[in-house]
Symmetry: C2
Amino acid sequence: MMHKCKIGIIGFGTVGKGVFKILNTKKDNHPILKEIEIIKIAVKDINKKRDIQVNKDLLTDDIDSVIKDPRIDVIVEVMGGIDIAKDIIIKSLNAGKSVVTANKAVMARFGYEIYKIAWKNNVYILFEAAVCGGIPVIEPLKKSLKSNQITKMIGIINGTTNFILSKMSSENSSYEGSLQIAQDLGYAESDPSADVEGHDAADKISILTEIAFGGKIKRNEIETEGINFINLKDIDYASKLGFEIKLIALSERINNDSSDSLPLNTWVGPTLIPKGHPLASVEDVNNAILIKGDPLGEIMLYGPGAGSGPTASSVVSDILNLKSISFTNNKKGLSTFDPLLAFDFWRKCHLIESAQIRKKFYFRLICQDTPGVIGKIGHIFGTNSVSIESIVQFDATDNEAEIVVITHEVTKGNIEKSKTELNSLTEVKLIASQLNCI
Amino acid sequence: MMHKCKIGIIGFGTVGKGVFKILNTKKDNHPILKEIEIIKIAVKDINKKRDIQVNKDLLTDDIDSVIKDPRIDVIVEVMGGIDIAKDIIIKSLNAGKSVVTANKAVMARFGYEIYKIAWKNNVYILFEAAVCGGIPVIEPLKKSLKSNQITKMIGIINGTTNFILSKMSSENSSYEGSLQIAQDLGYAESDPSADVEGHDAADKISILTEIAFGGKIKRNEIETEGINFINLKDIDYASKLGFEIKLIALSERINNDSSDSLPLNTWVGPTLIPKGHPLASVEDVNNAILIKGDPLGEIMLYGPGAGSGPTASSVVSDILNLKSISFTNNKKGLSTFDPLLAFDFWRKCHLIESAQIRKKFYFRLICQDTPGVIGKIGHIFGTNSVSIESIVQFDATDNEAEIVVITHEVTKGNIEKSKTELNSLTEVKLIASQLNCI
């Protein structure tokens, strides 16, 4: 007879309730689910009316009593937020309990510290639900793909922005209108800035980057642009040129034998993707990530990026992982400890400076409709070593023309120099948009 | 200091050499790879000239000496074949060694027996490489998705046939010509029957079905059709109607509360897929599988389905899994044993009878070009309770017309009755093709 895994849940919102439902399902799931027992659930208000039937004896408003409960093996932190959640995670690890969390903001900012504390206490911190909802991506990067050298990851890892961009593209609906629909459907929060400004995607690519490449990076150094300034014109022009616009998170290793720290090119931003690219057809709140490894080649993991069911599925997977391998042994020392699942950094990494980032760019310029303007624009890019893939003029009216420039892969430094010169050109009224291309 | 994982490799073909390369890479992979040591490699001919540099002391032609070597913790069976490979796997497990294999034929036929033997000996049988090459799919089904009730799997899981069908579709190249190209590129064997007749895909869906649904099934009961009779006309007509033709493997649970054994609908066959479906754009030797779970929703795993690098990546992942969690403890009994990774059946399952399988069908009929023929065909289907989605006439010449019928979802039994009546109709010269639709 195996030892039951006894858990305490902290927070009982969408994800917490989803976990409760899986563990109390009447469906004929794998019998190991019956080996997980909820001992306590910490909530703000015990007497709040809930749309789910829960034995009141399980509820408490005293978080510390859950962390300290000697019966509990695993703390499930699904309350969200940053500072308090971080404290709860660290306290729980120091109390000798493994922790499962869906908290990307905490793991992106304090992963290094938290991994160390977990390791020191011979317990685990697992967080499959923090990135890409129900898609297994943390586990593959920690374990299944560890036989590879990961070279590049590129993904759509924020469902809210993908929903908004899908709406804008398929229904020619404005950014504001599409955001409103997302809010009405519960896909965007009333303050949507974490999603639409790209910070949520930056949290996630930060976590993935550290796990895939094995070194600590500085979360606040990730160059991050959101979708809140995307114009329907850009979506229209991109489409005419054969592209979809998606909020992309990218992270890749840059080979540099001379450094003892691995340089990484990591960024988040709205990006033109060729319509035939596998990421171009990822619609609505779905997520997808392409992972390139040597000798593996390229795989793609695709699925629902958010929602109660998918997120809870990942949380329970982590609990099952703990149930099936570890916590019965974790007092015996590291030799009974899964070092890949536990995760520790194995090298130094650093993000390259913004000016050194190499990528393809898209510009929309509002210009005077005079002869020679395309030549002048081309000349400026050329003198700054920016090679151009295409220049196309759209919508000439009232002495005004819109000119779209797509460059080859160039450094951001050379782009900035070009922009300064473009801005001083009389014929260029405005650099209306700047986006990335892959 | 952790115990090194010492392995013996049996077979040194494409996959074996791929494993050797990963374990001897000069790249800055995760340091845990250095903790895996190859003790012996069993080959047929020690003195054979090889395109890879190997210390001759590692080689032996005595398989038993590898299995019995007390230094070796894990046997890596990558020799292929069925009977001898099965014996080696069982002998190794009985000798107290965990086994990693890429052998889908053995696991599809003898999985039940082998899981039991591994479990009895407190060792593991891992086989990520047996299905979908480098894509992690066995691990997710065994562990990461175990919080879900899996309801359906549908995939392109044979790279050779996908390459041939991609060639036929994109270059209007005949089946025979496309097969020849696949053979020239090393994607198809000189005797291609296991691939083109669907047996390889049936092996793989058999393995996935047992792991996802938790019960033993009878491999030889899986209804299996290949692509060797696919005509360019079918690809052309399908395309005109908005479909791609792919070799699909499908397995789904059928809810049936009255039985203590879960009924499963499982088959392999050439199938029309709407062009917008995520599987329709899987090209060349790539594989992809959609997995539907409750409460997860649908995820897709996509990537290279074969080849030395991807397959070796999965083999080494399995070795790492053993290294990181288990073999240091496996003498202590089941409590230190990962029951999900080890895998055991937890319920009864059975395949439903062929006549009960429900799906959509595509027919190409060669008919006399006489008035009323479409009406007569429609009448026959109708009287046999086969509801029709579309009937389209193509290519009427010389008193002959080709008529394509696509049905709604119906039982195979009703289809067989309809076919008997169609064959007795004077106007129907030939039922030239019968394919599946999703």
